[in-house]
């Protein structure tokens, strides 16, 4: 683990880059939770519904912890959580739209949730003390998500019918933007790598490909051959697009605005 840095002592550009990183991680966690929550009812079994409910709570808990890290940069997390426009959300593109079938959710569980964990693992080994202390518990909880995602991915990949085709389609749709996100190497990311906040792009990408290679091979996708999508949005640290308005409204808590207690 790297020696901790003082965030207040970072330059303005480095602080901005760190804020962008925290936001894309926190927003992705929040959207991941929403996508799990969509399947609390209607998933293949009662047990799976309970699992998606539990994972929803995990993701939202992780998001709260990540948003709270913004305080270290002098930013109030509350308006960030509740008052941003949809176009400001920096969550990963794979979670922009509702998963149309269980196979797509399984792909999101195994590939998108895993991408977030790979980024968090690298963040936790870096020089930002809040990540060093708070992220390891998140990653421990994510072990259950990885187990479930891996088991379901294997199961659907081993079928002959529609489920495998849907899994393949979701995999091919998600991977290019996930590879772009994990392997981001633009100027803000390079600043963070230079400050020891997160590992180098090639290291993160190698870890991600290692994590998913065996799984995606089951549907005939070579993880090493997937190229990053070329629609990077440097202002948010994600690829082009934005979450659906409905999802962003839920992420902000629009319907509960009158009941906020913080």
């Amino acid at each position: 683990m790297a020696d901790a840095i003082d965030p207040a002592a970072l330059g303005a550009e480095e602080q901005s880059a760190l804020e962008r990183l925290i936001l894309t991680l926190a927003d992705s966690k929040r959207l991941m939770g929403i996508r799990y929550s969509d399947w609390i009812l209607g998933s293949p079994s009662v047990e799976t519904g309970i699992a998606t409910s539990s994972m929803t709570q995990d993701e939202w808990g992780h998001a709260r912890l990540l948003y709270a890290m913004l305080k270290e940069l002098g930013r109030d997390p509350e308006p960030v959580e509740h008052d941003r426009e949809t176009s400001e959300y920096a969550s990963i593109a794979a979670l922009d739209e509702e998963m149309q079938d269980w196979a797509a959710l399984v792909a999101a569980m195994a590939l998108a949730d895993r991408a977030i964990s790979v980024m968090l693992e690298s963040f936790s080994r870096g020089s930002f003390e809040q990540a060093q202390t708070r992220v390891p518990k998140m990653l421990a909880e994510e072990e259950f998500h990885i187990s479930l995602g891996t088991a379901w991915y294997r199961r659907l990949a081993g079928t002959d019918g529609d489920a495998r085709d849907l899994l393949l389609a979701a995999t091919e749709s998600m991977l290019p933007t996930l590879v772009a996100w994990v392997g981001a190497d633009d100027a803000p990311m390079q600043l963070l790598v230079g400050a020891g906040v997160i590992g180098p792009a090639e290291e993160r990408l190698a870890a991600y490909r290692d994590a998913i290679r065996e799984l995606t091979a089951l549907v005939g996708v070579d993880a090493d051959g997937v190229e990053a999508s070329d629609d990077w949005d440097g202002s948010r640290g994600r690829t082009a697009g934005q979450p659906s308005e409905e999802a962003a409204s839920r992420a902000r808590g629009d319907l509960n605005r009158a009941l906020f207690v913080e």
């Binding site: 293949p44 047990e47 799976t48 309970i50 699992a51 539990s54 187990s147 088991a151 379901w152 199961r155």
Partner: protein, 75 residues
């Protein structure tokens, strides 16, 4: 898709009795572990484990759940 019944056992604290707290339907050990954790983790357990129900061997020939299952399995 075929699912298997796994019984869930847990103890609250070190030294407590290991109790049967429920069961889950799962398709392998890994999913059984996840489902047991997500279904029964409202409390904090010192130890939790799952056992495939068909692997439980009843000791007496009573009317218990496991004995009945064993009898039906053995015809």
């Amino acid at each position: 898709m075929r699912e298997i019944v796994y019984d869930v056992f847990a103890r609250k604290d070190r030294g407590d009795v290991l109790s049967h707290i429920g069961y889950v339907d799962a398709f392998d050990e890994e999913t059984a572990k996840v489902y047991a954790h997500t279904t029964y983790s409202e409390q904090t357990w010192f130890e939790m484990c799952v056992v495939e129900r068909s692997n439980i061997i009843p000791v007496n020939d009573g009317d218990g759940l496991f004995a009945q299952l064993r009898r039906s399995k053995n015809g």
